[in-house]
Symmetry: C2
Subunit: 386 residues, 2 copies
């Protein structure tokens, strides 16, 4: 066990994640230093809040034990230091407008053999009502099965209803599926899904930002929902009542720019009301089949890996480093960005006529080059960029 792993495991429990103060401290000094500062009660200037947040908990260090617990159930702690850390996909959670409500997770507890970065590059979330109708269950099974067959990982929340149908259909197809939990990955919640969760962990991943032993709780479902959205290339709501947890996941998807779809159903069905509302208010695209869900997630029909590679190649100089400076001005993504305000990745993709994956990759390179910034309203050109 590395000191980094130990530090992340300690930080994961010392303040309930997501904790913006602890996250800011880690971003500034790294996990090892942050853990040391919290333990020693000496924070760098401007980081008193991280000490306040850990006032009553800093002496509790279960890092060794937690790491052993998850290892015992076939799990591990994945941190930003690991090659499999899905950095880009979680990056969207760190905009000013979203970080206050829960930025990127510090680290993720994971049960299952799949690499997080590979899994989340080709993933679609299917979410919906716990009180699924037989129509909803049927549709979820069909969609999840077809997506699995096409090589997509199906992400959901492990709950009753739509979630369980989605996981089960993906498993039946031999496809990867990801359950993001609102409790520790060693807990089976709901208890009746113990076997299902074990099956998911057998080929895909059971993921949580909560350390082992933590129980599911209402506020944790809401923060968990942001991870379901952030770890997926598209979110599709299959059934949702007027006020539902799925609507919360949908709101997260919109907030962080993950394409959102909703499946229509009979207008006489109470669990389709939320879907119809999202579609008619222009928040979600109508998804009538798995092909539509895939178009949402990868508008160009390419896998993300393909297109990221291509984009990186195109936007790099000959020696492989990202291009910057004046050359970047011709970048089709850059020309689609406003100088003030901001736009979403999908808006840029529409304007530039490029796949979302390409736009993401280019934005990452342009950000490194200092040509673009991400503000509270989305992406815009950097004032000093040229």
């Amino acid at each position: 066990m590395s000191s980094t792993q130990h530090a992340y495991a300690y930080l994961s429990r010392v303040a309930e994640p997501p904790n913006p103060a602890v996250a800011r401290l880690v971003a500034e000094v790294g996990a090892v230093e942050a853990a040391a500062a919290i333990r020693r009660r000496v924070a760098p200037p401007g980081h008193q809040e991280a000490l306040d947040a850990t006032e009553t908990t800093y002496e509790i260090d279960l890092a060794v034990q937690d790491l052993a617990t998850v290892e015992a159930c076939g799990g591990r702690l994945v941190t930003p230091e690991d090659a499999e850390w899905p950095a880009w996909t979680l990056h969207a959670l760190n905009t000013a407008s979203t970080s206050a409500r829960g930025g990127a997770p510090l680290a993720l507890w994971v049960r299952g053999p799949a690499r997080l970065d590979e899994l989340t590059e080709r993933s679609i979330a299917l979410v919906g009502s716990r009180a699924a109708s037989s129509y909803g269950s049927h549709v979820t099974s069909t969609l999840a099965g077809e997506l699995g067959q096409s090589g997509w990982a199906v992400v959901s929340g492990g709950a009753y209803g739509i979630d369980a149908c989605a996981h089960r259909a993906a498993l039946a197809m031999g496809a990867s599926t990801v359950a993001v939990l609102a409790c520790g990955i060693d807990r089976d919640y709901p208890v009746a899904h113990a076997r299902l969760l074990a099956q998911i962990a057998g080929t895909g991943a059971v993921i949580s930002e909560y350390p082992p032993g933590i129980s599911a709780a209402k506020h944790r479902f809401l923060t968990r929902n942001r991870l379901v959205a952030a770890l997926s290339r598209a979110v599709v709501v299959v059934e949702a009542g007027r006020r539902s947890g799925a609507a919360n996941t949908a709101a997260w998807a919109r907030r962080i720019g993950v394409p959102l779809g909703a499946v229509p159903g009979p207008i006489t069905s109470a669990v389709s009301v939320g879907c119809h509302q999202m579609i008619s208010e222009g928040q979600a695209c109508l998804v009538a089949d798995s092909a539509a869900a895939q178009r949402l997630a990868a508008p160009d029909g390419l896998t993300l890996f393909d297109s990221v590679d291509t984009a990186a190649t195109r936007a790099s100089t000959d020696d492989g480093t990202p291009s910057s400076g004046t050359g970047a001005h011709d970048d089709p993504v850059l020309t689609c960005l406003p100088g003030r305000g901001g736009v979403s990745v999908s808006d840029v993709a529409n304007s530039a006529g490029l796949p979302v994956a390409d736009v993401r990759a280019r934005l990452a390179l342009l950000e490194v080059a200092g040509s673009v910034v991400r503000g509270p309203d989305g992406w815009r050109r950097a004032r000093t960029g040229g």
Copy 2:
């Protein structure tokens, strides 16, 4: 029987409507002169086409007989000379882009007590598959019943399936309903709907542009569909397969700027495929209840009569004549119009934040004032308007 009525009745049969050549001749010289010219085989310059179109038929004058036939079944011929002629609503059919495929009807054969202008000011078309599912039938009955209860006339095509459900539910609510036929109003098509059509004619209207005795035929369904759209303030497709007659009515609605809605259904239902396609392609708004259908037809929640009056008042000078000249420049509708190309009434309504009915009324006044013109692509500012 006036000579005008006689002329229209003659013209209605002498060339199968809609006949653009005959319509142009009537527009130029009036119905009486047009009928005389065709009978005498002497057309004004540029109108040879109207003679060609009537080459083999000009001697057939069944006007007296046709008028007697419809009178015998409680009908009448409504012409542009009549106060009840729904001039505005049919005007949309006379744009350059649509008139070639069937402009405004020359006249309408009508069975039923309702005044056409009043009926069509508060009308919503419910159309859909003949092979309606039980879901589609149920939804149509609910929507039509609720719309009828709210004072809307329900327009449809008198066919099996969705059409019949719509008419029947409106009748059951004691509301007006309008059947636009692809045959003469003295013909019961389909035969099984003889009683239904008689009931419709008892309180609402059975309408056709074809003279009595004309049978339904495939091409007549398509031209009939344009009247269903033009006589309605909104068209709502309840169920439609991938290729359906309802899709044709929907296309007419979009072409002439009538708001289009579609009801979603199970994605497993073949007769909802067309609806889902229209919604996901942005052609139709999702309609999940009768309130949504009413918002489509009257976005401000006012009746068209109310808002037309208001708009006319606002846009008039003190002596009641429409304002024109420089004052019109401040008109919110005018400022939303492009100088080139053209936009639809609903686009203007969206841009100006005004109800469609207001925009229509203002456009009519601005057109009279010479400030706006209707081109092949929609409305734009007149080049010489100021």
